[in-house]
């Protein structure tokens, strides 16, 4: 029980974390208004990564969880990176060595 009590005292101030998240959220919405693609990329996805990490660390208590739970979740993310790296040369690219996509001209027109 004493272990649990000491865990509780290590909890962060949740409201402060929440307010930080709201500020980050505002940045992610306002960033694209500058209209610069790199700024959008950083404010949208960089900030999203920071926000998700904060939620995981402080709300899901990964900061006081056993360390290998981090490793477990990050390993799963790494496997998704692996999947992306293995599939992108075929699905993302327009063509490659000795092959190319043939697609009907894409437009915003409805396909039915």
């Amino acid at each position: 029980m004493s272990a649990e009590a000491s865990e509780a005292t290590r909890h962060p101030n949740y409201v402060r974390v929440y307010l930080t998240l709201l500020v980050l959220f505002a940045i992610s919405v306002l960033g694209p208004l500058l209209g610069h693609p790199w700024v959008t990329l950083v404010t949208a996805f960089g900030v999203a990564a920071v926000k998700a990490t904060m939620v995981a660390a402080y709300f899901m208590h990964l900061n006081i969880e056993r360390r290998y739970i981090w490793y477990l979740l990050l390993t799963m993310l790494a496997f998704m990176g692996l999947l992306f790296a293995g599939v992108a040369p075929d699905v993302l690219s327009q063509g490659g060595q000795n092959w190319r996509h043939v697609r009907p001209a894409q437009s915003a027109a409805p396909h039915h």
């Binding site: 929440y18 959220f25 939620v55 995981a56 799963m76 699905v91 894409q106 396909h111």
Partner: protein
């Protein structure tokens, strides 16, 4: 720990052991989330690849409602705060207070789904249906799958809140909270992927 397990179901000794030091329920929950990461990960990795393959998807994405999506981000963040405050109350043994916070979280989920319903309705009525373009197929599939998780989370939150109000199974307050934060974290990525990037 063992006292809160009291229920009609005879809990086996196995469930009460903890060789890792992590309570069994929480340990299992981490594995659930690990398997959820790869489900959402597979869907979103596919989406990102298609998105980068089709430049015209940026135009399609400009038709999503960034204000609705942004408001929903705010709602989920707030409901996450309620969930974690509920956990704090449960840790202090105050089941009634925990239940109040969990029910507030459920309200957050309801608002989220309500906004989502209005948003979808508007999009569909403007012709942005699931068939319009593959972008919209991904949009409805990803946000739909996420919405399903929100719905399941709300139901479980409601059940856990009912138990907590009577001081039972207080350890579950933390578990459903962790799940809810995960659903929140998924939305944190869906929001820029489908709304902001255009």
């Amino acid at each position: 720990m063992s006292a809160s397990h009291a229920s009609e179901f005879p809990v086996p000794l196995a469930s009460r052991r903890s060789a890792t030091g992590i309570p069994t329920g929480r340990l299992a929950l981490w594995w659930v989330l690990a398997s959820e990461i790869v489900i959402f990960g597979g869907l979103l990795a596919s989406y990102i690849m298609f998105r980068l393959h089709h430049p015209h998807w940026a135009d399609e994405a400009s038709h999503t409602n960034i204000w609705a999506g942004g408001f929903n981000t705010f709602v989920l963040l707030t409901s996450s705060l309620f969930a974690v405050l509920g956990h704090q109350a449960a840790e202090q043994g105050d089941g009634a207070k925990a239940a109040r916070f969990l029910r507030l979280t459920v309200v957050g989920g309801l608002v989220f789904l309500g906004v989502k319903a209005v948003e979808w309705r508007g999009e569909i009525s403007h012709g942005f249906t699931i068939y319009r373009d593959l972008f919209w197929t991904f949009y409805y599939t990803a946000t739909g799958l996420h919405g399903l998780h929100v719905l399941v989370g709300m139901i479980v939150l409601w059940l856990v809140a009912g138990d907590a109000a009577r001081g039972r199974n207080l350890h579950r307050v933390e578990l459903i909270g962790i799940y809810w934060h995960f659903v929140d974290a998924v939305w944190i990525f869906l929001f820029p992927l489908f709304y902001i990037a255009r």
